[in-house]
Amino acid sequence: MYKILEKQVLSDVIKLMVIEAPHIAQRAKAGQFTIVRIDEQAERIPLTIADYDSKAGTITIIFQEVGQSTMHLGTLNVGDSIASFAGPLGHPTEIENYGTVICMGGGVGIAPIYPITRALKQAGNKVISIIAARSKDLLFWEDKMRAVSDEIHVCTDDGSHGRKGLVTDPLKEILEAKKENIAKVWAIGPAIMMKFVSLTTKPFNVPTIVSLNTIMIDGTGMCGGCRVLLDEGAKFVCVDGPEFDGHKVDWNSLMSRLSYYREEEKMAVEHWKEHKCKLDKEIAAGGK
């Protein structure tokens, strides 16, 4: 069992947890992820290492409540434990001094882009960050990102904070301005965002690294459920990735695979809400 040491509510649907996991913290690096299983009945879900403290033996995760597992996780509190926590999985980001780089985070993708941005900055790169969310209340860590960036652009879809527009707008302007050579772009966020970032950088021939969020089970190469089609054939995201060259990814196949379990996901949420409702009532009744 792995104890939750800290919990922060970053927005209505985005939560942060610091979890006691010395076995993962010892070796964790930017770009890697974990597999979380809440309890005996739960599924295994992948969550990125948003931060780590090897001395304290802790791992920070940030998640958006999109379905049954993440909603359930969101109800846990400091002092509660999760049943399984494996990692660090996947290859770490290749950190070097490339020159000038752009780091982009969309929505909950701001969490995983942060440690990468920080490491790139520490390695001596000039870092331009672009972060975005649907609206102001979904945006978090602007201050943390600012602290590790030389230049930062903030957008919201609805214009409630920063600039109104998509992440690709400032990206395109920077690339078109050609003020300096952009050595590499990192983009993490919803598949659709990563797809359009890749399409935007392609004509400029700027290498673009994306972190793919396929459906996973084991996270160790055993099931093949996370496979993705690249120009050179199928790869397993959990062991060959999670980072890939965005220009080589078959985005349509990826997005179609992400939506394959939609009916079951809906059913799971309904079932869980019913179950939780019943539990809450029982607790309330017991409390009287």
Partner: protein, 482 residues
């Protein structure tokens, strides 16, 4: 029973195994074979001729003392039967259920030629279940030696090795990448063939009696590497199995609805997907399922599919649908245990033999809709001695399918070899290790089971774990330096 003459013994028919009715069992996940009761077991034991040079023992990969344990069963001395069994085999309740007996012990039984072999596997299961219920043969550890051992992987190879070393008084820690121990016994072989309470019963017992530590969620090569383990432990055993699935190189394998047998079986068995939504891992299965392959893995996938279809049909009030096995050779070459193939047919699974997929075709949403196959015929024997299947030109056919499960064999997962310099591997990705001792090319590292042989059997993995444990113990005592 009075003492019988061999002739009379040979007149006793092989005692049938009580089983769930095929039409009922193909809709539930409960065990198919129900096990002998004591009277039936003793009657079956009467059939054994107590050969002076027993072929059965030669056929068993670990040389179980078969006539000795059967004699004890015949005499009704079950604690003695357990004791005889455990000299060579720690896990009879498991092996009795899953060994391919027809090509091992029973295949070499003298009665095979004269009719039907003694049902050694069924008797072994009976003895194993007796031990699980009564624990007449307690596990005890020798005084502590102060040596520390890491066992990587908790399948049959790792478990056997850990138990034998812990009994010698060494301090054993097992590392497992998944959230619980057992390896294929838990994530691969389904509940209806090997109930998980049997596997967990054995593991919990060993852990409690011998103080073995199990560290789940530790992926060696990621969480901690082999080289780092060697800094902390006196010796390391690798029993990481062959868990990496292969996909056919044909168009359409990335369509929705195509999955590896590992993914499907993991969802169903390890994650208990058949209890969705009470358990959160969904299993998506259509009304027309094709399982490609002919081994145990294919049979298990097909039989689980049949059951999942029944569960889902009940939930939705529809008809269950059909399951096909597509295999490129003929019935004679099917590599699965004979009993599993027989059970699959009984349960209503359709076999398309001498057939090989060439393409999987999708609909406009990216989901499987058809599978294109070609018929095969058997040509000249190949290197393995089996007749090689060759495609019949112009014999292509299409079958409507909405799910395709690839059960094509597996190879060792390479993650464990990260930061493990000097550990030699073959071109198939298996670790190079001495057959007798399990020693690899890297000092203080032993290996055994599927990671060395490629996908094989439970009993061969256990045998390898046992041999390695014996050599590791000698090494740790200083009797067999590296």
């Amino acid at each position: 029973m009075a003492k019988l003459e061999p002739k009379e013994r040979m007149k006793i028919p092989r005692q049938p195994m009580p089983e769930q009715d095929p039409k009922i069992r193909n809709a539930n996940f409960e065990e198919v074979a129900l096990g002998y009761d004591e009277a039936t077991a003793r009657k079956e034991a009467e059939r054994c001729l107590q050969c002076k040079k027993p072929g059965c023992t030669v056929g068993c990969p670990v040389g179980v003392r078969i006539p000795e344990f059967i004699l004890a069963v015949r005499e009704g001395n079950l604690p003695k039967a357990v004791e005889e069994m455990k000299v060579k085999n720690n896990l009879p309740a498991i092996c009795g259920r899953v060994c391919p007996q027809e090509v091992q012990c029973e295949g070499k039984c003298i009665l095979t030629k004269k009719g039907k072999s003694v049902a050694i596997g069924r008797l072994e299961r009976f003895v194993g279940d007796y031990e699980l219920a009564h624990r007449t043969c307690p596990l005890t550890a020798a005084p502590a030696t102060g040596k520390k051992i890491a066992v990587v992987g908790t399948g049959p190879a790792g478990l056997t090795c850990a138990v034998d070393l812990a009994r010698e008084g060494h301090k054993v820690t097992m590392f497992e990448s998944l959230h619980g121990p057992g390896g294929v016994l838990v994530y691969g072989i389904p509940e209806f063939r090997l109930p998980k309470k049997v596997v967990f019963g054995e593991i919990d017992y060993a852990v409690e009696c011998l103080g073995i530590q199990v560290r789940n969620d530790h992926v060696i090569g990621r969480t901690i590497s082999l080289n780092e383990l060697l800094e902390q432990y006196d010796a390391v055993f690798l029993g990481t199995g062959a868990g990496l699935p292969s996909f056919m190189r044909i168009p359409g394998i990335n369509l929705n609805g195509v999955m590896s047998a590992n993914e499907f079986l993991t969802r169903v068995n390890l994650m208990k997907g058949y209890l969705f939504p009470n358990y959160s891992t969904p299993v998506k299965l259509g009304k027309k399922v094709a399982v490609v392959g002919g081994g145990n893995v294919a049979m298990d996938s097909a039989r689980c599919s049949k059951r999942m279809q029944a569960v889902q049909a009940k939930q939705t009030g529809t008809e269950p649908g059909e399951v096909h096995i597509i295999y490129r050779r003929s019935k004679e070459e099917v590599p699965a245990r004979a009993e599993e193939f027989h059970h699959a047919i009984e349960e209503g699974i359709i076999c398309d033999l001498l057939t090989n997929p060439v393409e999987i075709i999708g609909d406009e949403t990216g989901k499987v809709s058809k599978i294109r196959c070609i018929r095969m015929e058997l040509g000249e024997p190949d290197a393995s001695g089996r007749r090689k299947p060759v495609p019949i030109p112009g014999s292509e056919l299409e079958m409507e399918m909405d799910t395709v499960i690839m059960a094509l064999g597996t190879s060792p997962n390479p993650i464990v070899f990260v930061d493990a310099d000097g550990l030699e591997r073959t071109k198939h990705g298996t670790a190079v290790a001495d057959v007798e001792t399990g020693r690899t090319k890297k000092q203080r590292v032993w290996a055994g089971g599927d990671v060395v042989t490629g996908a094989a059997t439970v009993i061969s993995a256990m045998g390898a774990g046992k041999r390695a444990a014996a050599d590791m113990h000698k090494f740790l005592k200083g009797e067999a330096p590296w």
